[in-house]
Subunit: 82 residues, 2 copies
């Protein structure tokens, strides 16, 4: 069954406390080499078919429901499953 | 600056209440054609360099800190930024 992935991330200008918490914890855990962390959400949608109409539908879901477009950006992409 | 993305998703055999809540809401919002939804997390890490050592480091971060490997799977991949 085809899968559509919607990634939802906080906009660059929006403070991301979860990402900052992860970033702050890394050195304490002995990790280095990471200068910034942003945390967002990933939705995997199993769809009946991949068509322009279905992708438009998923775009609308992302725009109106999955993402808060005031503070978040989203991307929609098709990912074939094994 | 290179970016490494870590996707963390609930394992297939694990109940995903957030995904189920989204799935249940879709028809009420007038959306159709989606048979399943899984919700997970996406981490974007800005790293100093992309090397085998750095990717091994990020794998270790994912394994020990970003994901709970009892109930979650993760993937690590490099994503070039504009």
């Amino acid at each position: 069954m085809p899968r559509v992935v919607v990634d939802v991330m906080p906009k660059p200008e929006i403070l991301d406390p979860q990402g900052k918490a992860v970033l702050g914890a890394l050195p304490r855990l002995g990790f280095s080499g990471v200068s910034d962390v942003r945390q967002g959400k990933r939705f995997e949608l199993e769809v009946d078919e991949v068509s322009d109409a279905m992708l438009a539908e998923v775009e609308k879901m992302a725009e109106t429901f999955l993402a808060n477009t005031v503070i978040e950006n989203y991307t929609v992409r098709v990912e074939e499953t094994a």
